[in-house]
């Protein structure tokens, strides 16, 4: 074997385990890792500002924890309907997959509706991005920045999953453990990530 052929074989060996489907998955994971750093930086920044502040209001005295707990519950539910939907895609059960994906989309939309309600309520009470009646102005700034950034992700996810629902609903789309499964799985990764980030946001912004 020539040297070039040996080199080629080596490269092939290193790259072979990634099938074409997993390149998409790899791409999504790389994106999510970058996105996680954005959220990480926002949350660490939040922690730093709060620690340095002497008049930071107590979050759970101002936010309705019960409402946000319910929003958390909604996202957790929509995560489980997502995996069940994916499972149905793999098992070639179109109507089951459609139902679960629809429930996932509705969960996300419900979350957004509640967030809009929560924001309106808090803005009415005087929480603004530049100040609030209870203490440090940054309390409002960080709150709207972080929950807003997350809310935009949920919005993107609802659109993304609606497209998945449309694809799965089309009678000509072939289900089973093939390409569609892979595409839906990648969408699911994004959706679970949004849920995962909310777990962190809920803990650090609302509970701590």
């Amino acid at each position: 074997m020539s040297e070039a052929a040996v080199m080629h074989a080596r490269v092939e060996l290193a790259e072979a385990p990634l099938t074409p489907e997993s390149w998409g998955k790899l791409g999504m994971w790389v994106f999510l890792a970058g996105d996680a750093m954005s959220f990480g930086a926002l949350l660490v920044g939040y922690g730093l500002l709060r620690h340095a502040s002497t008049n930071w209001p107590l979050p759970f005295e101002i936010f309705g924890i019960n409402l946000t707990a319910f929003m958390t519950f909604l996202l957790i539910c929509s995560s489980v309907t997502m995996v069940k939907g994916l499972e149905a895609v793999k098992n070639n059960q179109r109507s089951v997959a459609k139902t679960y994906l629809l429930l996932t989309v509705l969960g996300g939309a419900g979350f957004l509706g509640l967030q809009a309600y929560e924001w309106t309520h808090l803005i009415d009470e005087g929480l603004k991005i530049y100040g609030n009646p209870w203490g440090s102005a940054l309390f409002g700034t960080t709150f709207f920045m972080i929950t807003g950034f997350h809310g935009m992700h949920v919005t993107g996810g609802v659109i993304y999953l609606s497209v998945m629902l449309a694809i799965v609903s089309k009678p000509t789309t072939q289900l089973g453990p093939g390409r569609t499964y892979n595409v839906v799985e990648i969408a699911g990764l994004y959706w679970h990530f949004v849920d995962l980030v909310w777990i962190m946001v809920f803990t650090f912004i609302y509970l701590v």
Partner: protein
């Protein structure tokens, strides 16, 4: 990718996540020092995040590469926190 693993019981994971959220809500009312409550909350949040990543995102059944990618932001965030400590002290 055709998964060969048996699917985990997703409803059980859902139940765990639900119970852990309820526990979190209980923890904030515990008569403990602030630091202990925060530590507990961080632990519970990380545990929930781990459940989501491992089972819902199938990380448990994936090749190692993806796990390493998933771990990088956490390492970098820890790094960020460490670098900010001198500013706080």
């Amino acid at each position: 990718m055709a998964d060969t693993h048996a699917s985990p019981n997703y409803w059980m994971i859902w139940l765990y996540l639900f119970v852990l959220t309820v526990v979190e809500l209980g923890v904030i009312h515990l008569p403990l020092v602030k630091v202990a409550i925060v530590a507990l909350l961080v632990f519970l949040a990380c545990y929930k995040a781990l459940l989501v990543a491992m089972y819902f995102m199938h990380l448990k059944f994936e090749r190692r590469t993806l796990g390493i990618i998933a771990l990088t932001p956490f390492i970098l965030c820890l790094f960020l926190i460490l670098m900010l400590i001198p500013d706080i002290a």
